[in-house]
Amino acid sequence: MIVQDNIPFAIRHFAPAQLREALRKMHLIRLFEEGAEESYMRGLIHGTMHLSIGQEASAVATCMELTDADKITSTHRGHGHCIAKGADVGRMFAEFFGKETGYCHGRGGSMHIADVKTGNLGANGIVGGGLPIAVGAALTAKRLGRDDVTVCFFGDGANNEGAFHEALNMAAIWKLPVIFVCENNKYGMSTPATYATAVPNIADRAAAYSMPGVTVDGNDFSAVAEALHIAIARARAGEGPSLVENLTYRWRGHSKSDRNRYRTKDEIEDWMSRDPIARFRAELIAHGVLDAAGAEAVEAEAKQAVADGVEFAKASPAPGIADVTKFVHAEEAA
């Protein structure tokens, strides 16, 4: 007999099917990004990419209670957010391969991946670009009397942009249903958060805007899910915004051109030993949500989705050159 108090929030709060789906999405993010890396090496993807491997719990746990009506704004490191919010990896690969079937019809690539239909208003090439946009989305919900909320993902680096401060202030004075989720992975590119930010925790900034701010272990699925549960409830109840800081770590370099001169191998290895997926998977098994074979099956499903996605993307057509100015404005009536 398990003592109720020792059961993590997520296990108590979500149905087994939801937890299984969460694990599938975490594997899917990891495998998708590994697939994207491989495709990049093979020349199927060009430009650059920002991988979130190591940060999967933050993306998936944050989006657990969101519906398609709820919105997110994402970042340059946005593949995980996109998958967590419900996107199809085939259309994501297609976008990365520059294909017409991609979510942005080949115009945006990795840095602008979006899926407006599932409420993902888009990754962003501009650090901090999504912060005021999220506040605007929350304003819409409030004005139109809807109960949907907006989750705004941003990094530790973004909290030093003016847009961050302006956005939090407006969200607070207008009591808007927005949750600011900082994925603090210790660095903005090469710059340590401890150097660039005047307060020890990004969540400390919340006090300046009269909103609750909490810092949680971002590699602990349940801790993130619980913090978001509280913040979302507050937002839906019309009580205003919150700031949640998920402490996590990216295993890969900042982008494809990072020499990793600013961090040690030891630090990277230490964080790799705190794999959020292995941890969540072990937790699900320990609490009897899944057995080992069930977990294997979940991972295999994700693997298959990635393989199918790559094939779909490869087989898809590229946009026509003549359409270079398509989508600049609304289509003109014929």
Binding site: H46, G47, T48, E95, G98, K99, C104, G106, R107, G108, G109, M111, H112, N124, G125, I126, V127, G128, G129, G157, A158, N160, E161, G162, A163, G188, M189, S190, T191, Y195, A196, T197, S257, D258, R259, R261, Y262, A318, P319, I321, D323, V324, T325, V328
Partner: protein, 343 residues
């Protein structure tokens, strides 16, 4: 190789060394840091990381964090700190990681830096340099590929340069630093690895002077940054057909070298402007207008032609991305038609 296509200008000092465009910029910054204790470098990830394009590279090891300052990700504030420091005695070289992010700092560049001297009746100066990696061709899509030279060129109080060679990258940066007013230096990302002979030691390349990179009598092409190289390639091809193209490297958008352009158009009677920024209201519009207003107008044998960026953001798909800005083949086609009187 035709001597006329030789890009390096022989300089009086004689001593040169082969350097990449990025190395030449770094060399200029090192010389500036050595020569003048008030020079500081500021920017995101310019220290240990060495800059997004590895331009500052090891300068942090050589000059330390007090002179090679990593800023937080705060473009508006960072640019403003550079403006305030310039106003009071430092000479900051502020690096935007991509020129696109200067959009976040427009307030400090356009409303403050550009106008302080004027608004204060000449009692103040803002000798700041903004370095901006610009241009498309890297697959980085709409928010990391823009060409803003016309934006900044529209602002009195700013000077705007676009070096196309390693030699000019160094000389124009040192000139920008020596200038008493704010200067924007657009560095083309696709040129960072380009090699060329660069004079050693201190020298400046005058701001406001275009360079004739190839002489010819049939058509004048005025181009800037990477477009200079595409124009030179097109010119070499057209020479095989007996069409002699004169290629002018604009180098400076503001001030613009009217005299060089006017003299060339009077000689050839035909003008093609090639630039990467969006075609409408771009640098080529200004060049066309200055010819239309000048004595060169009477010498024109054909309508002025412009090749510029598409009326669209830069797309991600590589084929679309190439189609969005002038390529060598486009330049060749239009210059040929101009030369043959087909436009």
């Amino acid at each position: 190789m035709n001597a006329q296509t030789q890009i390096t200008e022989v300089t009086p000092s004689g001593e040169t060394r082969e350097m990449s465009y990025a190395e030449a910029i770094r060399d200029a910054m090192a010389i500036a840091l050595d020569r003048d204790p008030t020079v500081v470098l500021m920017g995101e990830d310019i220290g240990t990381y060495g800059g997004a394009f590895q331009v500052t590279l090891d300068l942090i090891d050589r000059y330390g964090p007090d002179r090679v300052m990593d800023t937080p990700i705060s473009e508006l504030g960072g640019a403003g700190v550079a403006v305030g420091a310039a106003l009071t005695g430092l000479k900051p070289i502020f690096e935007f990681q991509f020129s696109d992010f200067a959009a976040l700092a427009m307030e400090q560049i356009v409303n403050q830096a550009a106008k302080l001297r004027y608004m204060l009746g000449g009692e103040a100066a803002v000798p700041v340099v903004f370095r901006m990696p610009a241009g498309s061709g890297t697959g980085a899509a709409a928010q990391h590929s823009q060409s803003f030279e016309a934006w900044f060129g529209h602002v009195p109080g700013l000077k705007v340069v676009q070096p196309s060679t390693p030699e000019d990258a160094k000389g124009l940066l040192l000139a920008a630093l020596a200038d008493p007013d704010p200067v924007i230096v657009f560095e083309h990302k696709l040129l960072y690895k380009m090699k060329g002979q660069v004079p050693t030691g201190y020298y400046t390349t005058p701001i406001g002077k275009a360079a004739i990179r190839r002489t010819g009598s049939d058509v004048t092409i005025v181009a800037s940054a990477i477009m200079v190289h595409r124009a030179l390639e097109a010119a070499a091809k057209l020479a095989e057909e007996g069409i002699e193209v004169e290629v002018i490297d604009l180098r400076s958008v503001r001030p613009i070298d009217r005299d060089t352009i006017i003299a060339s158009v009077k000689k050839t009677g035909k003008l093609l402007c090639v630039y990467e920024g969006v075609r409408t209201l771009g640098v080529g519009a200004e060049i066309s207008a200055l010819i239309a207003e000048s004595e060169a107008f009477d010498y024109l044998d054909a309508p002025i032609q412009r090749l510029g960026g598409a009326e669209a953001p830069i797309p991600y798909n590589p084929d679309l991305e190439r189609a969005a800005v002038p390529q060598k083949a486009d330049i060749e086609t239009v210059a040929r038609r101009l030369a043959k009187g087909e436009v």
